[in-house]
């Protein structure tokens, strides 16, 4: 049963993030873009946490998140966006979609681990 979904079009980031959580004993699935992420999120309703990049081909991360909330109807899954920049509009959209927050890349697993453990457990 997958616990974490990592959505990023960058192989490096995807493997870094998913690798970190796999190493730390989580079950992780990945998706290469927003479309893929949406499909995986809807077919894996037990996912507890989604890490999603913003800029991706086919479907951007925020649109994916909005669709997960509206189309898939998953209102509860924790969502954390990965980004390299800050943008007031994006933050607004994220807040409206009920995301947990933003992580500025580069991703630093050690800082996140304890919190993620709690999220996935809850």
């Amino acid at each position: 049963m997958a616990q974490i979904l990592v959505v990023d079009d960058s192989d490096a980031v995807r493997s870094q993030v998913s690798g970190f959580f796999s190493t730390n004993g989580f079950s992780v699935i990945t998706a290469v873009d927003g479309k893929d992420g949406l499909a995986k999120a809807s077919s894996n309703p037990d996912i507890k946490l989604i890490f999603a990049d913003v800029n991706m081909p086919n479907m951007d991360g925020l649109t994916m998140v909005e669709k997960i909330r509206s189309d898939v109807g998953n209102k509860t899954v924790n969502i954390i966006m990965l980004t390299t920049e800050s943008d007031a509009n994006m933050k607004q959209r994220g807040k409206a979609a009920g995301i947990k927050g933003w992580i500025v890349k580069p991703f630093n697993g050690a800082n996140v681990l304890e919190t993620v453990k709690k999220m996935v457990a809850g």
Partner: protein, 1115 residues
């Protein structure tokens, strides 16, 4: 008002003036008095009774009157009117019957006959009905009239058959016609027939003259007879007298003709004619008179029977009947008119009676109203006024209670109520005063005593006591007495349990127990058998909020004690007030105690808070850290530590963007900056976890370039400030300027390694060290040559390179020069690579670099040795390994993050190790200063006072050597040219003994050695003249003092008049300049006083400025 009337009547105010008036007044007074005795209820009943009687009278009168009218009216409607109607009908029917008869007789039409018959029968019926009417029967005159009518109508009836016969039989009706048909017409017929037969018989005769005459006569006779007959018929039809005349004429003619025939012509008659003529003559003779008879009959008055009868009998009869009927109708009409007028009269009569009675009723009603108003409302008004006055608090006004009716009793009640209120108010006043008094008391016992005292006064009891429950609430114990008792008398005071005794019972039931007489109270005696004397007891429970606290017990003589129901409330209130006051006092004590502690707490807490606030403010103002918080949006909160401004060198901190304030002109790349700002956005205003998620993007140290190109190293700490809802409201940032710390740390590192080197050299010894340096330099030189010469690796070159470097490394290791071993090893490793594989890349530049690095390291060892260890002067620090180790220990144990500790450690080490290889200024000047008195003596001057202020500054050994030469010259110069002779100085008001001062200080990043004397100063004019004489300057050149002073340094210029062996040769100053400039420093003349016009001399100091490296400041 009413009361006033009553009062004044018997008084002197209305004395009767006359006996009559007096009697009236007396009667009125009695009536009035009587009226006041009658109850209002009765008055109202009587008044309304009168009104009811009047109403009944009005009703009966009106009823009776209306009843009589109704009878009359019914007579009119039921009798008179039908009779009149019937009479009029009869008239009408009579008319119709007559008319019908007339029409019938004329037209013989059956319908008129029917009308006539039916009208007749109707008339008969009507008259019978009329005669049967009561009004007709009852009135004789009327009856007579009706009877006559009846008889007339019976007569009219009797003509009926006859008239009907006349109508159907003309012969009977017209007698002439009957007579004619009987007597005339047959004869006429005979005559005419006979004549016709005669004429017919002529036809057989011969027609002669005679005969023709005869025939003519016959014709004439027949014509005349026919004409006469015709006239008769016409007369019968029209009864015109002309026709009668005409008949008679024709008869005469006929008679003439007949006689003619008779007389003259008898012979002419033939047989047939003769017989016929005879028949004619017979008929003619009789016909004539018969015809006359007919005319006579027909001409008579009754020629027509029906008309005759109608005219002669029926018409008068009908008229007579109609007359009677008219009279009858008139009678009825008269009766109606009379009845109506009677009715009208009666109605108006009734109207007057009813109106009169109503008037009477109204008057009675007004009187009743007036009466009731006077007897009810007026006293009520008086009471109302009293009530209003009471309502306004006028309790003392009089209320008249003398009336014995309901109002009287109301007034009584009112008065009672007023008294009750007055008493209540008095009670309340007492209660109020008592309450206030008790509230102002501070002693609970005094409160209880006061309550007892008040009750005693109120109820006239002899003594009272208060029993309060003990702490366990089990026993009532006596607490206070009134009047107060001696404490000793209280020792045997008894206690009560709940329910025990009167007090116990009052407490148990929480209600007042009043025993007017203890001997009469069964229960009391049962409880308290020992005291048999009669007493009155009042026991008042002390209750507040339904909680019992104790009992107030009062005792007095039977009959003296006053205690009514209304006093219960008073007693309860007193008891409650006492309890409340008692509790309040207790509460006040508790509160006062609490307030005292609370005040202390608040005070200490406030002081603590104030202290904390002050501490925080002081901290923010004085801490040598920048502390501030960032709000969402990256703006800086207006509260921040003052030091932040000096760190960032910007006053506009509040509300500015942190990215701009902190990270302007830094060594951070744009990517790092963008990461920081993105991370701040991802943290601020988000859940607390977002700090952990993003803190890796926040930098902790960076270098910032300030204005003027200075750099600052700033260290940052980031801490989130999280709200109760787990949202990061702010980020707290601590900024430290670690520039000095980092510098000190670097300095300490440098010192450490230097000390290491010194230690290593010291442990080897100078000879061995110098030998090592020599060998190493030789090997390095050889290697450099080899590397530069070769373009690729060859086995022997590499072998030489390796061997040389290996030797250096080996030697260094042997001597323990660890700094050299490391770099040598690096180079050796490179050569080793090549040695093992010659085909490896011949990286010349890398190898040269490694070589250079090794050389630098070795040279640094050599330099340290040269500076610190090779030239130790007499006052040099004694350097041994122990000292070096001690210094190293100092550096190693210092807290690297504590700037001041680090600073002092570095300073200590520096001052000690810095002194290694330096010489103190007094030491280096020692020989010079010692030579000064002798020199002064030689010059005939007083030995000068020499002041050396070195400020702890020492000079490097090699610099010290140079400076020794410089100052030898400088001091001699000052002695020779500067200081005047003692006499000269004295003349100028100066002390005989001059002063030469050397002031050494750190200045502008270097060391300044300023030499000055209090002599005459620089001889500016002489200097210029000399320079002009030597052609160095133009004699007329405009030179300022500084330019002139600069001439001092020109080779060969001396202002001294005579060149001594001491100075004045003009080579001194330019030599000094050379020496100093060789050390990287400079020399200048600085005037110490402002220019005075045309002064020959000007005070100055010679300033030798050396680079910082030349000197060491020792604490």
């Amino acid at each position: 008002m009413h009361a006033n009337t009553l009062e004044t009547t018997p008084g002197s105010g209305l004395q009767p003036k006359t006996p009559f008036a007096h009697r009236w007044m007396a009667v009125l007074f009695h009536v009035h008095a009587l009226m006041n005795k009658v109850t209002i209820r009765k008055k109202i009943w009587v008044s309304f009774g009168v009104l009811v009687v009047l109403l009944v009278a009005v009703g009966i009168t009106a009823f009776n009157s209306l009843k009589a009218n109704k009878e009359k009216l019914s007579t009119l409607v039921n009798d008179v009117q039908p009779a009149t109607e019937l009479s009029l009908n009869l008239v009408d029917q009579l008319d119709r019957a007559s008319a019908s008869l007339g029409f019938y007789l004329l037209s013989k039409e059956q319908v008129h006959k029917n009308d006539y018959v039916s009208n007749l029968s109707k008339i008969t019926q009507s008259v019978q009905t009329l005669s049967a009417m009561r009004i007709v029967r009852d009135d004789a005159a009327t009856f007579k009239m009706v009877d006559e009518v009846q008889q007339g109508i019976a007569k009219l009836q009797s003509y009926k058959e006859q008239m009907l016969v006349f109508a159907s039989d003309d012969a009977k009706n017209v007698p002439a016609l009957g007579f004619a048909s009987r007597e005339v017409n047959p004869r006429a017929q005979t005559m005419l027939q006979s004549l016709q037969e005669m004429l017919l018989a002529e036809s057989g005769e011969s027609a002669n003259q005679e005969r023709r005459q005869f025939l003519l006569d016959m014709f004439s006779l027949r014509t005349n007879v026919a004409s006469a007959l015709n006239e008769l018929r016409i007369f019968l039809a029209f009864r015109a007298d002309a026709n009668k005349e005409n008949f008679r004429s024709y008869m005469e003619l006929a008679v003439r003709d007949a006689s003619k025939l008779n007389g003259a012509s008898k012979s002419l008659l033939n047989f047939e004619q003769e017989a016929s003529f005879e028949n004619f003559n017979a008929a003619f003779k009789e016909w004539g008179p018969a015809a006359e008879q007919v005319m006579k009959i027909h001409g008579a008055e009754d020629w027509r029977q029906d008309a005759y009868i109608i005219r002669k009998d029926l018409s008068p009869l009908v008229l007579q009947i109609q007359d009677r009927l008219t009279a009858l109708v008139k009678t009825q009409h008269d009766f109606s008119v009379e009845s109506s007028s009677q009715l009208t009269l009666q109605v108006s009569h009734t109207q007057y009676i009813v109106a009169g009675l109503i008037m009477l009723g109204m008057v009675c009603a007004v009187m009743v109203g007036f009466f009731l108003t006077r007897t009810i409302l007026t006293p009520i008004d008086a009471l109302k006024t009293s009530a209003a006055q009471l309502a306004h608090g006028h309790l003392d006004q009089e209320i008249d209670t003398r009336r014995s009716d309901e109002l009287g009793s109301l007034a009584h009640s009112f008065s009672d109520m007023r008294d009750a209120i007055r008493k209540k108010i008095d009670d309340l006043r007492v209660l109020n005063v008592t309450g206030q008094t008790m509230a102002s008391m501070h002693d609970p016992m005094k409160v209880l005593e006061h309550a007892l005292k008040t009750m005693r006064a109120h109820c006239d009891v002899e003594w009272g006591s208060v029993y309060l429950f003990n702490a366990e609430k089990s026993l009532l114990e006596v607490k206070a007495y009134s009047p107060a008792r001696d404490e000793s008398a209280v020792h045997d005071a008894r206690t009560f349990k709940l329910g025990e005794g009167v007090a116990g019972r009052a407490a148990q039931h929480k209600r007042i127990i009043y025993i007017p007489d203890t001997t009469q109270d069964h229960q009391f005696e049962a409880q308290l058998g020992d005291d048999a004397s009669a007493r009155a007891i009042i026991c008042v429970p002390m209750v507040d909020n339904n909680e019992i606290f104790g009992v107030m017990n009062f005792c007095g003589d039977v009959g003296d004690v006053k205690f009514v129901d209304s006093d219960r409330e008073f007693a309860e209130t007193i008891a409650r007030t006492a309890v409340v006051s008692f509790k309040n006092i207790h509460m006040l004590n508790v509160i006062a105690e609490q307030n005292r502690t609370l005040e202390q707490k608040v005070e200490s807490r406030t002081a603590e808070l104030r202290q904390k606030t002050n501490d925080i403010n002081n901290m923010l103002q004085n801490m040598h850290q920048g502390i501030f918080t960032i709000l969402p949006g990256r703006a800086i909160h207006p509260e921040y530590s003052a030091y932040l401004e000096s760190i960032v060198e910007d006053k506009n901190v509040a509300n500015s963007d942190v990215m701009d304030l902190l990270f302007r002109n830094t060594n951070l790349g744009s990517n790092a900056l963008s990461q920081i700002s993105a991370a701040l956005d991802a943290i601020l205003g988000e859940e607390s976890m977002m700090f952990d998620f993003n803190r890796h993007c926040l930098v902790h140290e960076f270098t910032r370039t300030m204005s003027g190109g200075r750099t600052k190293i700033l260290e940052l700490d980031w801490d989130p400030i999280v709200s109760e809802t787990d949202v990061i409201e702010k980020l707290m940032v601590t900024v430290r300027d670690v520039t000095e710390l980092r510098g000190l740390q670097a300095e300490a590192e440098k010192q450490k390694s230097e000390l290491q080197v010194i230690g290593q050299i010291l442990s080897v010894g100078q000879d061995k060290f110098i030998g090592f340096i020599k060998d190493a330099t030789r090997f390095l030189d050889e290697n450099e040559k080899l590397i530069n010469a070769a373009s690729n690796a060859s086995a022997d070159i590499v072998a030489t390179l390796f061997r040389n470097m290996h030797t250096i490394k080996g030697n260094a290791r042997t001597y323990g020069f660890m700094g050299i071993t490391d770099v040598a090893h690096e180079a050796e490793t490179s050569y080793d690579v090549l040695r093992k594989n010659l085909d490896s890349f011949w990286d010349k530049s890398k190898m040269l670099e490694e070589l250079s690095r090794t050389r630098q390291r070795i040279e640094s060892y050599a330099t340290i040795n040269k500076e610190k260890l090779s030239n130790t002067s007499s006052d040099g620090v004694y350097v041994d390994l122990m000292l070096i180790d001690k210094l190293r220990v100092v550096l190693e144990h210092v807290n690297e993050h504590d700037v001041s500790a680090l600073r002092s450690a570095v300073k200590t080490v520096k001052s000690i190790s810095g002194a290694i290889g330096t010489e103190s200024i007094p030491a280096l000047l020692d020989a010079i200063t010692r030579s000064m008195p002798e020199l002064a003596q030689k010059l005939g001057k007083v030995a000068p006072h020499i002041v050396i202020k070195d400020n702890g500054i020492r000079l490097a050994v090699e610099v010290a050597q140079v400076m020794k030469n410089v100052f030898t010259h400088g001091f001699r110069n000052a002695m020779d040219h500067g200081l005047e002779t003692g006499a000269e100085r004295k003349a100028h008001g100066k002390p005989e003994r001059g002063t030469i001062t050397l002031d050494v200080r750190e200045e502008d990043g270097g060391v300044v050695l300023a030499l000055s004397d209090d002599g005459r100063g620089l001889a500016l004019r002489k200097l210029k003249e000399k320079a002009a004489a030597q052609g160095l300057v133009h004699a007329n050149a405009e030179l300022n003092d500084h330019a002139l002073a600069d001439l001092v340094f020109q080779s060969g210029v001396s202002t001294a008049a005579n060149v001594s062996d001491i100075s004045g040769r003009g080579v001194g100053m330019d030599a000094i300049r050379k020496f100093v400039e060789n050390l990287g420093g400079k020399v200048e003349i600085r005037f110490t006083k402002k220019s005075t016009s045309d002064a020959e001399f000007r005070p100055f100091e010679s300033r030798i400025i050396l680079p910082a490296a030349c000197a060491v400041k020792v604490a």
